[in-house]
């Protein structure tokens, strides 16, 4: 008993105080020596620890990009795994500097939740997957279908809206855990599986016994632009995060990758010289090193490299670029100019 009380007393001393959030986040981060980044506790391809406990994923890489922009070191970042409920209090209270946790940009989150959203890192949307045997070609043919859906998500509400607005009926099979929803679908308990298209593709590639037996229908019934977020009240910090993500997108547009970035340092193109900091000005405007964009591309890579490494066709998730292609290739990824 005594030992227990002592342990509690010892633990009670471990109260940490971080510098006030009123101070500029950049100064706080610099004096602390690392970026504190909130990520998903386990979403394949976006944020998950590997077997050795190292964080990997698309969202995770953008945390690393911000760390590189400030410290030129992708490891000067600490990750806080956050649940869906916990994520907003964590960013509001200053527990994390940056929330990079597959968060959909919405009006209320931008306003009443008090977030500022950086450029979208992944354009997602809710879709449907069915077994090829059914011969369904469009979601409009799903009248009367049994639909497996995860409970307590916007997915469930979008599903109801879609069927109501199309005057169709459906039988929902509502299950709480993602794994069990998938298992129910593959066991044939329902005709249709619905969630975000990235999730469907990942499930088809990674969980389906025979991936080719299943087809993702063309309709996307919701908009889910996923973006990193910072809290209101520190414009400089917001600018840094925003222009770090733009670096990745712009680098791909320039054709600059982590492998060939050195060849561009003395390019003839004045845009590229400004971008990489050979012509100074951009880094200073943000309060960062002039070479910050060079560092981000060199150590993390451009948007395409990050995408391919984590969720692209070469990974178990096998996602196509789709909406996430550059605007020059018919997608939506577009960076404002660096000047």
């Amino acid at each position: 008993m005594k030992s227990g009380i002592l342990a509690a007393a010892a633990a009670a001393v471990v109260v940490t105080a971080t510098a006030g959030a009123q101070a500029a986040t950049l100064d706080t981060v610099k004096s602390r020596g690392f970026v504190q980044c909130g990520v998903n506790a386990g979403l394949p391809g976006f944020g998950s620890p590997d077997s050795a406990g190292n964080w990997t994923g698309l969202d995770v890489d953008y945390c690393r990009a911000v760390a590189v922009a400030i410290f030129n070191d992708p490891n000067k970042v600490k990750f806080t795994p956050l649940s869906a409920q916990q994520r907003f209090p964590a960013i509001q209270s200053g527990e994390v500097d940056l929330l990079s946790r597959n968060t959909t940009v919405t009006l209320t989150r931008d306003t009443s939740v008090g977030l500022n959203f950086a450029p979208v890192t992944y354009y997602d949307g809710q879709g449907f997957m069915v077994n090829k045997k059914l011969g369904v070609k469009s979601a409009k043919e799903l009248n009367g279908a049994t639909v497996c859906v995860q409970s307590g998500t916007t997915t469930e509400l979008n599903l109801a809206d879609f069927f109501r607005s199309n005057n169709m009926s459906y039988n929902p099979v509502v299950i709480e855990s993602n794994d069990e929803v998938n298992a129910a679908y593959f066991a044939g308990r329902c005709d249709v599986l619905t969630t975000d298209v990235s999730g469907l593709a990942g499930t088809r590639a990674g969980v389906a016994p025979v991936p080719d037996d299943h087809v993702i229908l063309p309709e996307v019934i919701s908009k889910e632009p996923l973006a990193p977020a910072v809290r209101h009240g520190d414009d400089q910090w917001f600018d840094i995060v925003k222009w770090t993500i733009n670096v990745a997108i712009q680098a791909e547009e320039f054709g600059i990758t982590s492998k060939n970035v050195d060849e561009f340092v003395n390019s003839k193109n004045p845009d590229i010289l400004r971008f990489l900091g050979t012509t100074p000005g951009m880094g200073k405007a943000l309060g960062l090193d002039e070479k910050y964009a060079y560092n981000v591309v060199k150590k993390v890579g451009n948007y395409g490299e990050v995408f391919d490494r984590n969720v692209g066709p070469g990974t178990p998730l096998k996602l196509e670029r789709g909406l996430n292609a550059l605007w020059t290739k018919g997608g939506l990824q577009y960076s404002a100019p660096f000047r």
């Binding site: 009380i5 006030g20 620890p49 077997s51 209270s93 794994d179 969980v207 178990p316």
Partner: protein
């Protein structure tokens, strides 16, 4: 005349086959009425259809510990123990730095040794408390590091079984004395103390543990001044202690109420002070009576630590779930949950078995 008196005993005959032996046992227990017979046949059929496929899946068609996920996916008729082989260290130790994972391993060993040693009544001496303090200190040193040349490791990186053990063992160790005080306070004659204890117990018991954890992890930081944060693990640990104390207090109160009034009066008659009366007469008996409900609380509390996943800590179950989110190892949740379940079961079953033994030893005077 003596002819018809038999002087040599007949050889012993076996009783009829339908009154002793396995057949009789079957008849008496499984087929004694027509509905029992039907139920027996049904249950046998059910077991017969469930067990062979399960054994096939578990052992015969299973892939070994070194199987890759591609091999497992190609032939998914059996369990893929390659998942456990690959993820064992992550499930057991969470995100603790990989090359330092001997430290949480040693932590597990220390905890289990302490727990097993404390089960032996010969060791129930005052120095056992010192051993526990030494154990806690060495666990703290091992996990945090920063001294003796160990690299410092923040507690946000702790995970897996050590985290589960730290939360539950420290939680119970602190909550237990608090629970005794609460139980005594609730039966106290002093109105203020009584009201305080009753309010505390009813308030905490009136809300689910998950809401306490939410308060501790989500609400509390919003009330604190900007930039000041209390360690996340500590917040969860305090929430657990508060919760366990309230529940155990009620179990102990049950024990206190079972002690006959004569015991209290006898203690008063001997002129013992309140604390002498409680420590020497009442509590030893009351706690012995309260063992079953207390162990019940211990077991459910040990499993409740898995709720810390909602505040982003990877306990044993959370680490198992996170291991499933590796893109190349998705979908092997049966293996993951079975493995984690077996670990939980071993701990809970040992607790339950030990408590039965302890109950027998301590309640000799009450045995009916």
């Amino acid at each position: 005349m003596t002819d018809n008196v038999q002087s040599v005993g007949l050889p012993d005959e076996r009783p009829p086959a339908n009154t002793v032996g396995p057949i009789a046992w079957l008849r008496n227990n499984l087929f004694n009425t027509w509905y029992n017979a039907i139920l027996t046949v049904l249950v046998l059929a059910l077991l017969g259809s469930a067990i062979p496929p399960f054994v096939d899946w578990l052992f015969i068609n299973a892939h070994g510990l070194d199987a890759s996920s591609a091999v497992c996916r190609k032939d998914n008729s059996g369990a893929c123990w390659g998942f456990i082989g690959e993820k064992l260290r992550f499930i057991l130790f969470g995100t603790f730095p990989y090359e330092q994972q001997w430290r949480p391993l040693l932590t597990i060993v220390i905890f289990i040794t302490l727990l097993v040693a404390s089960c032996d009544r010969r060791f129930w001496k005052p120095w056992l408390g010192l051993v526990w303090i030494a154990g806690f200190l060495s666990v703290a040193v091992l996990m945090w590091g920063g001294v003796l040349g160990l690299t410092p490791v923040e507690n946000t990186l702790w995970g897996g079984l050590p985290l589960t053990l730290i939360l539950s063992v420290i939680g119970l160790a602190v909550a237990f004395p608090a629970a005794i005080l609460l139980a005594l306070g609730r039966r106290s004659n002093m109105p203020a103390v009584k009201v305080l204890c009753v309010t505390y117990i009813e308030l905490i018991r009136g809300v689910p543990l998950i809401s306490l954890l939410f308060m501790a992890s989500v609400m509390l930081p919003l009330f604190l001044p900007n930039g000041v944060s209390i360690d996340k693990l500590l917040r969860a640990q305090i929430a657990f202690i508060m919760f366990a104390a309230a529940y155990m207090a009620e179990a102990i109160r049950g024990g206190l109420q079972a002690i006959p009034k004569g015991q209290y009066e006898a203690a008063d008659g001997l002129g013992l002070s309140y604390w002498q009366k409680m420590l020497k007469i009442i509590l030893p008996q009351a706690l012995a009576i309260a063992i079953p409900p207390l162990v019940n609380t211990f077991i459910s509390f040990f499993k409740d630590t898995s709720l810390v996943i909602i505040i982003g800590l990877y306990d044993l179950l959370g680490a198992g779930k996170a291991a499933l989110s590796d893109p190349s190892w998705r979908g092997f949740y049966r293996e993951a949950y079975l493995f984690v379940g077996v670990i939980y079961w071993i701990f809970c079953f040992s607790m339950s078995k030990y408590s039965q033994k302890l109950e027998r030893d301590l309640n000799r005077s009450h045995r009916r």
